[in-house]
């Protein structure tokens, strides 16, 4: 947030914030951004919990 406030020009790097993209493209881009951001977080959390459960079960 601080970087964006200090250097607002970096927001021009967003490819979907340029004119000429359709609503479908912007929706698709938002969707896949969400997917690619959430997938490692959800997957990593699930994996961590599974490993924790396995080791906890083995310990008890």
């Amino acid at each position: 947030m601080a970087a964006i406030l200090a250097f607002p020009e970096i927001t021009d790097a967003c490819p979907m914030c340029q004119p000429g993209f359709t609503k479908d493209q912007v929706s698709a881009y938002k969707g896949i951004t969400l997917l690619l951001a959430l997938l490692p977080i959800v997957g990593g959390t699930a994996l961590f919990l599974w490993i924790f459960k396995k080791y906890k079960g083995a310990g008890s």
Binding site: S27, A28, I32, L47
Partner: protein, 194 residues
């Protein structure tokens, strides 16, 4: 001075074997790899205009549907093999059937590809062609690697490797096979149908 090194360090067995842990990390990277491909495909397919582009050969949707059923059945047989192994009543035939079905899947895919190339649908004929061969080709390479692992597992079972040594191999390889079989219906729907 005792310079003998006769002591052996016995490692406590871990709840998750090293093979399974390693395979999980491999599958995490493969999952992100396919997510990237799928994402790129979705963004490009949502561009204005007709998708797939016009004048493309019709994809073999029906043949690939039956091929998809073959791969899913292969995963089912693998699941039954793993269950029989864990119940200490290992049925080797189930593993062989799983391997055969996976190999048939690859052969049918290869045959369909040759037909598509003959019809002029190549990786350079259009953007859709590039994505098709990239996504389906990447999956086929993973299935090929999986088939190689199944051949290795089949060999290990045939030569009579002990159950203790076999367990991590069965767990890790079956995990990989389930993954490549599970991701294919999604890729099929995305590339062939959607």
């Amino acid at each position: 001075m005792d310079t003998s090194f006769n002591h052996t360090v016995t490692r406590k067995p871990t709840p998750i074997s090293d093979a399974v842990m390693g395979m999980i990390f491999v599958l995490c990277t493969v999952a992100m790899f396919f997510s990237g491909l799928i994402s790129a495909y979705i963004v490009n397919s949502s561009a204005p205009g007709v998708w797939p582009p016009l004048n493309q050969p019709r994809l073999p949707v029906e043949v690939t549907f039956f091929n998809t059923l073959l791969l899913v059945t292969s995963a089912v047989f693998m699941g039954r093999f793993v269950a029989s192994f864990r119940a200490e009543k290992m049925r080797h035939r189930l593993l062989k059937i799983s391997l055969i079905l996976g190999t048939v899947f690859l052969l049918v895919q290869g045959t369909e590809w040759v037909k598509l190339v003959r019809f002029g649908f190549t990786s350079t004929s259009s953007l859709f062609g590039s994505f098709f061969y990239l996504i389906v080709g990447a999956h086929a390479l993973h299935v090929l690697a999986g088939a190689g692992m199944l051949i290795y597992l089949n060999h290990s079972v045939r030569v009579g490797v002990s159950s203790e040594m076999l367990k991590p191999k069965v767990d890790a390889i079956s995990l990989y096979w389930f993954f490549v079989c599970a991701i294919w219906p999604l890729l099929y729907w995305l590339v062939y149908i959607h």
